[in-house]
């Protein structure tokens, strides 16, 4: 125990203190449910929102963007981190520096070029136009996470693989990936949630209301049903619930793997 609470009043006190800390964090989540419960009640609101054809379409769009981001991002980041962590070569510090610099590059600061590319290349309203920047912006974080994990793997593992005649790619496929399941889990969950939650890129790229993602649902409902706040909040619930479920399902290994990678 880091801090010790032996007597029962102090145990009660520390639980109360934690409740005091956590309640403000839970309150907005409770407010989401309370807000969605306005008007004709939450059940009726959910029914009304689900009937709007944009809702399943946007949910599908988000799923497409998230999966379309996770797969290439995972493959590219793993390859890159593997090369940085395991294979010796000279440009390492330069590439690592580039990763940290790219991590500091926010998506707001590149909307001028994105805006231009959209309007000239007719890329607007294609989900690909959201996926490609998302993959590119997500790689640095994944690489930093993966590199520290791969560097911690025991050397003997790789020597054994070489003795068995694996080349570097075979080592990656048959040795590194199977033992890196926790790492891959963290990257998949983190990238999925980041893609699911992205707001700015879809806002700039997906201009046609027929194409959208869940983060655009509240503003779509605001446009269509401006005075009906409970309906807007209910619509946001449709985007919140999947990411919360995903987090709760992955919580155990996700929390551990993420912190292990960031503390190196």
């Amino acid at each position: 125990m880091l801090l010790q609470f032996r007597s029962w009043p102090s145990r009660l006190g520390v639980h109360l203190l934690l409740v005091l800390i956590v309640v403000p964090f839970a309150a907005p989540l409770a407010a989401v449910v309370a807000g969605a419960n306005g008007g004709f009640g939450i059940i009726e609101n959910i029914k009304t929102v689900a009937m709007v054809p944009e809702v399943p379409a946007y949910l599908g769009g988000s799923l497409l963007v998230a999966i379309g981001t996770v797969l290439p991002s995972l493959a590219v980041s793993l390859l890159c981190a593997y090369a940085l962590a395991r294979l010796p070569h000279k440009g390492k510090p330069l590439i690592q520096g580039l990763m940290v610099a790219a991590l500091a590059l926010p998506s707001v600061s590149i909307i001028v070029p994105l805006f231009y590319v959209v309007s000239t290349l007719n890329l607007a309203n294609s989900y690909l136009s959201v996926i490609v920047p998302l993959v590119a912006l997500g790689i640095p974080f994944n690489v930093i996470l993966a590199r520290s994990f791969l560097e911690d793997l025991p050397k003997e593992l790789f020597e054994a693989a070489s003795l068995d005649g694996c080349n570097s790619f075979q080592t990656l496929i048959y040795i590194v990936i199977p033992v890196s399941r926790p790492l891959i889990g963290v990257i998949v969950v983190w990238t999925f949630i980041a893609a699911w939650n992205e707001f700015l890129l879809p806002l700039v790229f997906l201009l046609n209301p027929a194409r959208g993602v869940v983060t655009l649902l509240p503003s779509y409902f605001q446009g269509e049903y401006s005075s009906n706040v409970p309906l807007v909040i209910t619509a946001s619930l449709f985007g919140l619930v999947p990411s919360v479920i995903m987090f709760l399902a992955a919580q155990r290994f996700f929390a551990h793997g993420l912190s292990a990678g960031m503390l190196r």
């Binding site: 880091l2 801090l3 520390v14 790689i139 700015l200 509240p218």
Partner: protein
């Protein structure tokens, strides 16, 4: 030249080298002589790096070059007709009062970092102390990190509205104000600061929790034998021992707050009268409302420079602290 190697490494190198060299199409005889100079994996390593480099340099590199170039033009951001204006956009940046306001606002938001870190460390330390129901506490603390600002914004607008939940709660303790919290600059910035803390404590708690797990308990026991109380243990042991996590968290918070965009855009749109303007929202406004791509580019550069400057300051401060 390398020193003598053990047989396993040599065998490994030979096996790998030969497998790989066949791919590159070199003959065995030439590579056998160069083996000692060039590691056989070097080329493969670059091959593995290529997709990531193409994406990073292709997308982000292109965008950065584009932004720098655009900052010297007057241009609407879409069609042809860009006019070279030299440093005009930068001059506008220096004299623009909204830039000063945005800097002030981001400064206020940065002040939330110590609060966030303190709440994160305190809850991590408490959750390491044999607490019941810790699973629920952990999940609730981290939940805000995984949900999108775009999806919580409608609720926050309700919470801080004139007939919102905050005023309801204040009414319960006899402080009913009917105040529209997001409509005056001071309270709106305060609301944004509270939201930032709400959204980022989870991450701080997570890293601190992991860092605390690696602390050697015998040190703490020795301190307790000498009569250290819980607050003393927290202040003199846990806080200093968590310095690595603090350094990481400060860096990540600085980077993520310098680009603060979603919440002010969604909740106040920088208003009223630029009272909650941030570089991100101002940039977006300049581009999509006034079609001033040149000035937006200068603001983009400002955000990136701010990110880099803040992380350099953090590094220097961290190095100083270690001395």
């Amino acid at each position: 030249m390398r020193g003598p190697e053990d047989p396993i490494t040599t065998t490994m190198r030979r096996i790998d080298g030969s497998l790989h060299r066949r791919d590159v199409g070199r003959s065995r005889s030439t590579t056998a002589t160069t083996r000692s100079k060039h590691h056989p994996w070097t080329l493969t390593a670059y091959l593995y790096l290529t997709p990531a480099m193409i994406l990073i340099l292709g997308v982000t590199g292109f965008c950065v070059a584009f932004v720098i170039n655009t900052s010297f033009y007057r241009w609407n951001g879409i069609g042809p007709g860009a006019v070279w204006v030299g440093a005009h956009n930068f001059k506008q940046f220096i004299t623009d009062p909204v830039v000063l306001l945005s800097t002030l606002h981001i400064g206020i938001i940065l002040l939330t970092i110590p609060i966030t870190l303190f709440i994160g460390l305190l809850s991590a330390a408490l959750l390491h102390s044999g607490i019941r129901f810790s699973g629920i506490f952990k999940a609730l603390l981290f939940m805000p990190v995984v949900i999108s600002p775009a999806l919580t914004a409608p609720t926050f607008r309700e919470i801080f509205g004139p007939q919102g939940y905050l005023n309801d709660a204040l009414g319960l303790v006899g402080l009913s104000s009917g105040r529209a919290w997001l409509s005056t600059p001071v309270t709106a910035i305060g609301a944004l600061a509270v939201i930032v803390i709400w959204a980022s404590v989870g991450f701080a708690y997570l890293l601190y929790y992991a860092q605390l797990a690696s602390i050697d308990l015998s040190i703490l026991e020795a301190a307790r034998m000498d009569g250290a109380s819980n607050p003393q243990v927290f202040w003199y042991f846990l806080m200093p021992l968590c310095r690595p996590a603090t350094a990481t968290l400060v860096l990540l918070s600085l980077i993520s707050l310098a680009k603060f965009f979603d919440y002010p855009f969604l909740l106040t749109d920088g208003g009223p009268l630029h009272g909650t303007e941030f570089f991100g929202t101002y940039l977006y406004k300049q581009l999509t409302r006034y079609f001033d791509a040149g000035y937006s580019s200068v603001l983009s550069i400002a955000i990136v420079v701010l990110c880099i400057a803040l992380s350099l300051i953090q590094r220097l401060a961290n190095a100083k602290m270690r001395e």
